[in-house]
Amino acid sequence: MADVLGAFEQAVLLAIVRLGDDAYGRAILKEAQARLDRDVAAGAVHATLDRLEHKRLIVSRLGSGTPVRAGRARRYYRPLPAGIRALNDARAAVDHIWRGLKWPLVKARSFA
């Protein structure tokens, strides 16, 4: 059983998968904001990336800088096999929980 991922961790890890070779800090932040449809603190994304790397679900390398970043290096991320496994497990767990229910749910029955 791979690591159990929280919803935000899944959003960040899926952003890395979607972005492929362009998965660096700011791009991941924008992707996570777009998918979650809310403002996300850059620090929250960086903290999550740090945690995922610590869990050995992703790996990073330093790339080159650009003038808009004042030449500061970008850190690029890519998922490791354990990260992909963790995402698949998370998706399977949600599918399993929802199995047999129609989505979206209608109003719950009352205890009348």
Binding site: G25, A42, R61, G65, A73, R75
Partner: protein
């Protein structure tokens, strides 16, 4: 979108951010924030972009210091609770074990907080700023904890006990304010050890492993 190199966030905020980051993250994270600031935030928010940047920096500072601040605040609130719920007779000139234990626990917290911050940032200034934030935030948390305790226990007997153990003013702002210079001083000593250890073990090398 602005790529204008003269579009810069507040210099002090950027210095503070770089001071509080690990060497491995210093370039990449400050670069991410600068890129976002120039390309998305300034065009969208204009003059309010600086506030956005300061808020982001605050997030990193809080993340680096909150465990130590929570510990310092917890020690202070614990002491007030003990003094209020299980009062002891303090005698002028004689240190009660409760005072000694609390004082050393706080000193250890400030020293370790400064040491840890200087170690992870490989900067003495990071440790000193970390100690200041830890002390100030810990004091604010202890004031908040005191208010919460008062909201729960506020009968006349409790008020008499509070007045007998230094008074409400001491708990709300007297001790937290008094501890700021103490915390910074002790934290600076801790930071000196942390910085020395970081130099010995060379933690300042950026993480450049390839994916």
């Amino acid at each position: 979108m602005t790529d204008d190199p003269s579009t810069l966030p507040p210099r002090w905020a950027e210095s503070l951010l770089r001071m509080m980051l690990r060497p491995a993250d210093r370039e990449s994270i400050s670069g991410d924030l600068l890129e976002e600031y120039r390309q998305s935030i300034v065009p969208a928010l204009g003059a309010r972009a600086d506030r956005w940047y300061v808020r982001q920096v605050g997030w990193y500072v809080l993340r680096a210091t909150w465990p130590w601040a929570a510990l310092a605040g917890g020690i202070l609130v614990g002491r007030y609770l003990l003094d209020t719920l299980a009062p002891v007779q303090y005698t002028r000139g004689i240190r009660h074990p409760r005072s000694t234990i609390m004082s050393w626990a706080l000193i250890a917290t400030y020293a370790l907080g400064g040491c840890w911050q200087a170690w992870r940032t490989a900067r003495l200034s990071g440790g000193i700023v970390g100690a200041f934030v830890t002390t100030a935030l810990g004091g604010a948390l202890s004031s908040l904890g005191t208010v919460l305790c008062l909201a729960v226990w506020h009968d006349p007997q409790m008020w008499r006990a509070i007045q007998g153990s230094g008074g409400i003013e001491e708990a709300l702002y007297g001790v937290p304010l008094m501890l700021v210079p103490v915390g910074v001083l002790v934290g600076t000593v801790g930071a000196t050890f942390g910085r020395t250890a970081a130099a010995i073990y060379d933690v300042s090398k950026p993480n450049t492993k390839s994916a």
